[in-house]
């Protein structure tokens, strides 16, 4: 009997091939290129002087440039991972694949790694534009960009784990993708906002953890700050702002990855194909 490792490689190879062939991958590639290219185009239009006046250092500039990367990673992760398992559980392909002598954990692992590779390649397109921009405006590329790439990679792992979780949970691939996008793009930011408004550091939110992608680049990093608004007889409000330490963000994302990947593994392992 052939070993799990060889079957993992097969699952990985054909899943990656499927990704690269679909319009979805091309669409995501265009999406990433348009978003990052648009930012670059706007800043080129503003000119070097204005850009460097707003961002005193190359790292600060990069931090600003990457501020929408987390949202792009969410879209990438949801579309790559959202139907990776649900396509089997909805019948059709599952009747072919899940009746093969392959452990489901092997299939899941192969597909997950393929999604990571495809997603990372798309994310690197964004970083390529960012690197070109910072080189153009500041004549240098900060080394800290590597730390940001590391944090973004961890975020991709976590986002894909969440997407795979929904994919193992729902039998309908479209529902799975939509659920992943809603939770990642709306659910977690709401969690973060609630924590921020109540003066609680939102360490429980994946969205908060993802902020380490940019906070690792900030030259004047502040973990916690408060702002008082109003007063003098009127209503006063205290606003709290938190930014995760790089290690803290990495830990939050790693925990999300571990929990949701394990959950998706358990659900996919025992899920029945009822059709």
């Amino acid at each position: 009997m052939i070993g799990d490792r060889a079957q993992f490689q097969t699952a990985f190879r054909y899943q990656l091939r499927s990704y690269l062939r679909t319009w979805r991958f091309l669409g995501l590639l265009i999406f990433v290129a348009v978003v990052s290219g648009a930012i670059l185009a706007v800043q080129l239009h503003r000119g070097v002087d204005l850009v460097t006046a707003n961002y005193p250092t190359a790292s600060d500039y990069l931090s600003g440039y990457l501020s929408v990367l987390a949202d792009a990673v969410i879209v990438i992760g949801a579309f790559l991972g959202g139907d990776a398992l649900a396509i089997d559980l909805s019948g059709g392909a599952g009747y072919l694949m899940l009746s093969q002598p392959v452990r489901r954990r092997t299939l899941l692992a192969g597909r997950y790694v393929a999604a990571v590779v495809a997603g990372f390649a798309l994310g690197m397109v964004y970083y390529l534009f960012a690197a070109l921009a910072v080189q153009y405006f500041y004549g240098t590329i900060p080394v800290a960009i590597l730390g940001s790439i590391g944090e973004a990679f961890l975020f991709l792992l976590a986002v894909l784990a969440v997407a795979f979780f929904f994919s193992s949970f729902f039998r309908n691939p479209t529902v799975s993708i939509v659920a992943a996008i809603l939770i990642l793009l709306l659910g977690f930011p709401i969690l973060t906002a609630v924590g921020t408004l109540t003066g609680t550091e939102p360490w429980f939110s994946l969205d908060y953890g993802s902020q380490s992608i940019t906070s690792i680049l900030a030259t004047n990093f502040t973990h916690e700050s408060t702002t008082h608004v109003g007063g003098r007889g009127g209503l006063s409000l205290t606003l709290y702002a938190y930014a995760p330490y790089p290690w803290e963000g990495a830990l939050i994302m790693a925990v999300y990855f571990a929990v949701f990947f394990s959950l998706s593994f358990v659900i996919y392992r025992f899920k029945e194909v009822r059709g």
């Binding site: 097969t10 499927s18 062939r21 072919l96 009746s99 093969q100 029945e272 194909v273």
Partner: protein
């Protein structure tokens, strides 16, 4: 030696028992027809044998290995076609076959040679087209080729000719007959009694999740032998003259010159009835009334036979 065993196999969905303590064992080569009406539990049984469902009670064993406990080992030497399997639309037919072959540990040469062989035998569509662009029947033939690629000793088939056109059905039927001759063990569900009769040696009747009868096709044929004849005359004939023929129990007019005659099923009676009909008017057609699966099945229920 290939083997297939259900030990008190049960599947409940909430309180509904889709399969209720089914038990049977088959060893060695041969083909078993798995018959019953829609919702009888045929597909549920096959899904339990292929790990697509998990049993509520009991065990499904293939080649002595329990599928639920270790699906990889249990399904290693098993090919299956349950419900309507679909290849991944982004892959070509050739890639689909290669992927399944690789999962089953075949070498590149084996995959290439066997792909070429089944492309001829199953008249597969162009293999470099993505399967998403193929017709349903073409995709099904690719899935059947994928099932056969590793030459498994046990085949589990859920209405394998469903959705195929008549020419495709003939291809699959001939293939199954050849495979049976190669000492493979085949369990196939079907609604088509004629197909089962041509391919299978053994039959299992199931209804409402319970096995009603297991026997050889030969014995089933004797038990449900045809006891009606359809006669067509060259010109109209009086019904009363047919009813009075010796050996005819009941005569029914299907048209002015077309009748159905019940008799005792014996060959001598059949010969005598034919001679008597020919004396009444020229006979243009004289054949056994077709016995549908539903007829046989209803008769089995009426007999109320215990599960065996």
């Amino acid at each position: 030696m290939p083997s297939l065993e259900a030990r008190g196999l049960t599947k409940r969905f909430a309180t509904y028992a889709a399969l209720d303590h089914a038990s049977f064992t088959y060893e060695g080569g041969g083909a078993i027809g798995y018959l019953g009406p829609n919702g009888a539990g045929k597909t549920t049984t096959l899904k339990l044998f292929t790990g697509l469902l998990r049993p509520t009670e009991g065990q499904a064993l293939l080649n002595g290995r329990e599928v639920a406990a270790d699906p990889k080992a249990g399904l290693w030497d098993v090919g299956s076609l349950v419900e309507t399997p679909e290849p991944y639309p982004a892959l070509t037919g050739r890639e689909t076959l290669a992927m399944i072959g690789e999962f089953r540990g075949l070498s590149r040469e084996e995959i290439r040679d066997r792909t070429a062989r089944y492309a001829r035998e199953l008249e597969l569509p162009p293999l470099d087209l993505r399967t998403g662009r193929l017709s349903k029947g073409q995709r099904q033939r690719i899935v059947i080729a994928a099932m056969l690629l590793s030459e498994p000793s046990v085949l589990l088939l859920d209405e394998p000719t469903s959705g195929l056109d008549p020419a495709e059905r003939v291809i699959i039927r001939n293939l199954l007959i050849r495979l049976k001759g190669e000492r493979r063990l085949i369990l196939m569900s079907s609604h088509l009694l004629q197909e089962v009769t041509e391919i299978c040696d053994q039959v299992i009747f199931i209804n409402r999740g319970r096995i009603l009868l297991r026997d050889s096709v030969e014995n089933i044929g004797r038990r449900f032998r045809v006891t009606a004849l359809d006669v067509v005359f060259a010109r109209p004939v009086e019904l009363s003259s047919l009813a009075s023929i010796r050996g005819v129990g009941h005569a029914e007019a299907l048209g002015p010159a077309r009748f159905r005659l019940d008799f005792d099923g014996q060959e001598e009676s059949r010969t005598g009835i034919l001679e008597a009909c020919q004396r009444l008017a020229p006979v243009t057609s004289f054949s056994s009334a077709s016995l549908t699966l539903e007829d046989a099945y209803l008769r089995l229920i009426q007999e109320g036979g215990p599960a065996r």
